[in-house]
Symmetry: C2
Subunit: 418 residues, 2 copies
């Protein structure tokens, strides 16, 4: 079959499923998620077998060991998929909630009802567990989903979707609530990005290159998940011991993730005192420091930071450190070099805390805590499908609510307009 034709059929089936899913009782959706967990548990061996085909092909294709690791579905990772399915079943159903209800002078009651978006397309790279996570969140929020995973993971993804469909069917979920694009040709993505008749939202998950291609070519709204080049600014009025703890935590607790600290700005008045303790503490933990001239005046042995460093999300044990003379300079610097993901100020001063909150143009702005808290789970949302660096529809961690839209509902008693 032609790819365009295949994709159109997938789109049609998704749209049909979406309208069924929209009014499916919560119990059916939850049962479906539990049945999916059950089915994956029962037939775990098949997933490992399919994954092994991908791993072997990846080795032959010369994938790096980091890429092979991302591709691998160990028993522990399959367990995590199962646990996650059961957890999503426990979350509150966002669909159907009516909010902002108010009565107009003419007696009309006007409110908004939370409803699914419709059909969501997810385009992602190597990790096959995204298939399960994204699929389950879409189902729980009443959306049909079209998944397009990386070509290296095609066999793993096919098997995971097959088992999720099977589990869903046992509970009465519409047949095609979760679909995978079953071909690896790039053309399928190009076609998918123009399917605005069938798909309501595209979420790309992966590197900058992938996201940019999607944005350039899509006629469907896209919610982007770009880098987290996170900054901390240490104000002059600060508890230095607390600051040291927070910085070490933000940089070293899990350096490979988007909410880890990448750049540190310190007010000149406290810089030397803080750095005297912080530099050795970071170095002990294996952190390479790249310092501006101000820092190197005290610590000439540190590697100098170049312009590019301030733009860089290292995802590694590297930290750029600079000195600023005012909070205004810090805010300007962060808005210029940061990636508008998550930035924090450490201060005891009320006015400066508020100024930073108001003026730093980022999805998440923190006072006196680690940037590592930028996460749907930590924010109490129960889960996340990603962290949007976009400003429209969803900004910051995206949970189930962010996978819904609303409609205005109006309860009248015969009103006509004068």
């Amino acid at each position: 079959m032609e790819i365009a034709e295949l994709m159109r059929e997938i789109g049609e089936r998704a749209k049909e499923s979406a309208s069924e899913l929209a009014s499916l009782p919560t119990k059916v959706k939850n049962d479906a998620l539990l049945q999916m967990a059950e089915t994956i548990e029962e037939r775990r061996a098949e997933i490992k077998e399919a994954n092994n085909i991908d791993i072997e092909a990846g080795k032959r294709a010369g994938l790096s060991s980091a890429m092979l690791d991302r591709l691998l579905l160990s028993d522990k990772r399959i367990d995590a998929m199962i646990t996650s399915l059961r957890q999503v079943a426990l979350l509150d159903d966002p669909v159907g909630e009516i909010y902002d209800m108010h009565t107009r002078p003419n007696g009309l009651r006007v409110g908004r009802m939370r409803v699914p978006i419709g059909v969501i397309g997810i385009i992602y790279e190597s990790r096959p567990n995204v298939t399960c996570d994204a699929g389950s969140l879409c189902v729980k929020s009443g959306n049909a989903v079209i998944l397009r995973g990386g070509k290296e993971a095609i066999n793993s993804n096919k098997k995971i979707v097959e088992l999720m469909q099977l589990g869903g069917r046992r509970a009465g979920l519409p047949e095609q609530a979760i679909q995978l694009v079953p071909v690896i040709e790039r053309e399928a993505v190009n076609v998918m990005l123009k399917m605005d008749k069938y798909i309501d939202l595209i979420i790309p998950r992966g590197g900058k290159g992938l996201i940019e291609t999607v944005v350039q070519n899509s006629t469907i709204p896209v919610i982007k998940h770009y880098d987290g080049n996170c900054f901390i600014y240490v104000d002059e009025e600060v508890d230095l011991k607390e600051a040291k703890n927070i910085i070490i935590n933000a940089k070293t607790q899990r350096p490979g993730v988007c909410n880890a600290l990448e750049s540190l700005l310190i007010h000149r008045a406290v810089a030397e005192e803080l750095l005297k303790e912080l530099v050795p503490a970071l170095q002990e933990r294996g952190v390479e420091i790249r310092a501006d001239e101000g820092v190197r005046a005290w610590f000439p042995e540190l590697k100098p930071a170049v312009e590019e460093d301030w733009y860089t999300e290292y995802l590694d044990l590297i930290l750029s450190v600079g000195i600023v003379d005012t909070i205004d300079k810090a805010i300007e610097f962060i808005n210029h070099y940061g990636s508008h993901h998550t930035d924090a100020i450490l201060t005891k001063n009320y006015t400066k805390a508020l100024k930073f909150l108001n003026q730093v143009d980022s999805a998440c702005v923190f006072v006196n805590c680690s940037t590592r808290f930028s996460d749907g789970g930590e924010f109490g949302m129960g889960c996340e499908i990603g962290i949007s660096t976009d400003k429209l529809h969803a900004r910051g961690p995206m949970g189930l609510k962010e996978l819904t839209t609303s409609k205005f509902v109006v309860f009248g008693t015969g009103q006509i307009r004068e």
Copy 2:
């Protein structure tokens, strides 16, 4: 100057203004709006003069009388612009509100703060009053705006923007908060639609052709404002007198607008009784009825409706009328032929009212009132920049809140992640 260069400069200036606007006190924004009203009042003659140049050029170019009417800035319309500026000054400032605040088990306080989107691009057709309305709503919500009006209205738009800038300046508004694309070349739109580095959101206001071009070419998120092909479904359990009033109001009170009724579906059990009174009442008011076979069985003299009629937003005194046997058929029909704008059910039955609210996939779904209430003002939003037929970010009437986004704000006391 090259158009690309010109547009880049406009983009840069808008982005600079946006960051100033974001933290501008409400009082400055309100004063600016009042000063704009004042300046337009004082220099009304200049607007009429500029408008006259457009009108004369339009006549020479052979514009239809309807188009010339849309272009005309009469004293009454200038008064309306002035009133609207003053009203927007009176609305609550949406910026800075903190909501959804909650405390996590570790003591972090997590909330969301409403902030401006940044730079908004508005692309519209002939009416020059959109210049004033859109400009004022963007300023009030703390956004910089780049306006691209129709080429027929270029002189009127230039003058309006000049006076708004002047008024704004008197109150201390950033110089380039409101900018107009000063050239009429189409290329300017093409360049504008790729300026994702400077513009955060594009709102096209105009016909389907304009909106489709924008969607196809924009790399910036677009919120679409498509047609309102509004339906009413009259259930069998209904107050017929109330139904007749509502239908007449929805169809005839102002037929040329997007929330006017275009298609009517009636349950077979009450159709004959309702139509006996409704058909002559509508005809008396000049409404042409296009009827399906079911209706024509009773009223063979009515013009038959063809397939295309059910898709059509007449914006005129025309109504398509059909018979259905069940509410399910009505919902299916509306979801298929309607434009997902505003649809209403008239019923006394609780279960059917809820079913219709849940299953009709439209931005606004009403029970027992006229579709004409689909309007930001009528919903208590104070104003509207349009009615979004999109599902993301804003759906239905868009007021000041819909011109904002949010950021997560987190208040910590030294928390680190374990």
